[in-house]
Amino acid sequence: MALLNTLVLAILATGFLMVSRRSLDAIIRLYALQNILLALVSFGLAGGELHFVLAGLALFAVKGVLIPWYLFWLIDRLEVSHEVEGYLSVSLSLLLAGLLTALAFRVGKAFVLPEAPLPQGVPVALSLVLLGILSMVSRKKAISQVLGFLALENGVFLMALSESHGLPLFVELGVALDAFAAVFLAGILIFRIKGEMGHVDTARMRSLRG
């Protein structure tokens, strides 16, 4: 159990780092790391049942490797500054992240169900979700919003793991497939936005009003 605790705390740490880092490459690498840790957690929880292990491996393959590689490829093609502009300064976003995590832990207790396999994982999952939304809200660049969304997705996956050993296999695969399709579509859109508007800053996309 101690191993699982450290893994979960490590995941929380990567979540915090993802919110605070300024460079896109660092965030993508942290995302890949988070996926690895998640895969380890799912192996730890699986306890030998084959299809859990299989599911963990498949997810790791899709989210751990495929998506980060795709994102790296995307950033290179876009020739856009790897800098992450946002509304909040680093310290302020960290402060907010801390607040949200505290809220998540306070509220998380109500989420924990009686026979949850990893009770301490639920508040962390909730905080990951809130951090994901925070980063989406506070980041201006389109890519960083996609990353925020992926962090959110990891939080949900951790919630699934800690609540009930993860969803049934094909549902899990469906979710992962959808996540990838969303990212893929977002990638195409970012390309078109770069082509159409010359920038990737969603804050300047405000022509649809009223």
């Binding site: 109500a110 989420f111 169900l113 009686p114 026979e115 949850a116 979700v129 939304i133 989406m136 389109a142 919003q145 969304f149 959110l152 997705e153 949900v156 919630m159 699934a160 609540e163 009930s164 050993h165 969803l167 049934p168 094909f170 549902v171 469906g174 979710v175 497939l177 959808d178 399709a181 969303a182 579509l185 977002a186 859109l189 078109r192 936005i193 159409e196 508007m197 969603t202 996309m205 022509s207 649809l208 009223g210």
Partner: protein
């Protein structure tokens, strides 16, 4: 066989980019599934099972898709029609999947799939504004759906990880702990509420519907909102089975009323007529959620049916107007009833139908809703106030576009008979509501 029904729409891709064949296939496929589906009622295959409510929405979606595909023939230039039909085929496949999915997880996956497919529909051939609309739609939709996923996970955990099949979950959920269920339903409501366009979460709806090409926005309003509403319906049935409907109805009523009032305020003084119709969709989805909250799922079904038909008619009319006048603002379009009655009259009557006027079904739906809401007179008062405000918003565009000052124009190259067909269906549905059919569907959902 059900797998066939899910994958049937992909047949459209055979026609590749050749417009004529695309149109033929895009009309034949939904009609074929429209005829095939009733025979598959009750059959099950893997995660899919077709029951009454699923069949109802399936038939509605196929009918609307066929009509929209037929109308789109005159709307799109030959070169770029393939984009619409391909995205439409993907969307139809995911909609079929959602209505057939009996497994809650698969339902979520297909709803997410329909979001992505409809994002393609909105994107169509690009441009600054459609791009922005698609991006916002994708982001808001995905975040909302992710919250919905947490809800699905909680439901799955509450049932002890045994199954995600809707039928079993409904029977097992009796012993689940109520607090967890309340939290799960709240998350699901916020999740699918984003897709349905309830008040605080509706920001994507007007942009997506206004920037999508005419027939695409008809599809979005007519069928996409129903997919998310169908999911809400399933989860409301679970809450009812768990005996927690009192809590669920209070949430549904609050969200429904908020959506109605704020949609009415958004409607007022709206400059573009497609944004106006989008807000009217938001308003009617709020009314449907309100009807569900009142504990009358048959009324919610009836309301979504009536709204889908009326909104498809309105949006097809709007796209006809756009193709004739190339003007998006209400002010620059006028005197349609005088200049091109074949398009003007159905469009004005569609706006009247959305305003909840008698010969059309939405009047009957709103009457029954007020009748049921009278248990709490204050609530019924607010409901009537919301309806009045919404109507005030719809009135001036209807007056200006129908009878106001406008340059004479000629209606050509559009299949306007579809509009009159839809109008006929609406009037028949309005005069003979056929409540028994919906009461039977209610039995499938609601466990007495």
């Amino acid at each position: 066989m059900l797998y066939l029904l899910v994958l049937l729409p992909l047949v459209v891709f055979l026609a590749r980019k050749e417009a004529g064949r695309l149109v033929r296939l895009s009309v034949l496929v939904p009609l074929f599934s429209f005829l095939l589906a009733p025979f598959l009622l009750g059959t099950a295959a893997g995660p899919f099972r077709l029951d009454g409510v699923g069949l109802f929405y399936l038939l509605l979606t196929d009918l609307i898709y066929a009509l929209v595909a037929l109308f789109a023939r005159g709307y799109f230039a030959r070169a770029e029609a393939w984009r619409f039909y391909w995205a439409g085929a993907l969307f139809l496949a995911s909609a079929h999947g959602a209505y057939l999915a009996h497994n809650l997880g698969m339902l979520w996956v297909f709803v997410e799939g329909s979001t992505l497919a409809s994002a393609l529909l909105v994107y169509h051939k690009g441009g600054a504004r459609p791009l922005e609309a698609t991006w916002k739609y994708l982001m808001l939709g995905s975040v909302g759906i992710a919250m919905g996923l947490i809800g699905v996970i909680l439901v799955y955990a509450l049932v002890g990880g045994a199954t995600l099949d809707w039928g079993e979950v409904r029977s097992l959920v009796g012993e689940a702990d109520p607090e967890g269920l309340k939290v799960a339903f709240a998350l699901l409501l916020v999740g699918f509420g984003t897709k349905v366009g309830l008040f605080p979460l509706q920001a994507w709806l007007p942009d997506a519907h206004a920037e999508a090409p005419g027939p695409a926005s008809a599809l979005l309003s007519g069928t996409l909102l129903n997919v998310a509403f169908y999911a809400l319906l399933r989860y409301a049935a679970i809450m009812q089975a768990a005996g927690l409907f009192a809590f669920a109805s209070s949430l549904l009523l609050t969200f429904g009323l908020l959506t109605l009032l704020f949609a009415a305020l958004f409607l007022f003084g709206q400059k573009e007529y497609k944004r106006l119709l989008a807000y009217s969709s938001m308003e009617h989805m709020g009314l449907a959620v309100f009807a569900l909250g009142l504990g009358l799922p048959w009324l919610a079904l009836y309301h979504t049916l009536a709204h889908s038909l009326a909104k498809t008619l309105a949006f097809l009319g709007a796209s006809g107007i756009l193709s004739l006048t190339h003007a998006k603002e209400v002010g620059r379009v006028g005197g349609l009833v005088f200049h091109v009655p074949a398009l003007g009259i159905p469009y004005v009557l569609a706006l009247a139908a959305l305003g909840g006027l008698p010969p059309f079904p939405l009047f009957f739906a709103e009457f029954k809703a007020v009748e049921a809401a009278m248990r709490w007179p204050g609530l019924a008062g607010l409901y009537l106030l919301g309806l009045g405000m919404a109507f005030a918003g719809l009135l001036s565009p209807m007056a200006q576009m129908g009878f106001g000052r406008g340059k004479p124009l000629r209606g050509q190259g559009l299949d306007l008979w579809i509009l009159w067909l839809l109008l006929g269906i609406l009037v028949i549905l309005g005069v003979f509501p056929g409540v028994e059919v919906f009461k039977e569907l209610e039995v499938v959902l609601w466990r007495k």
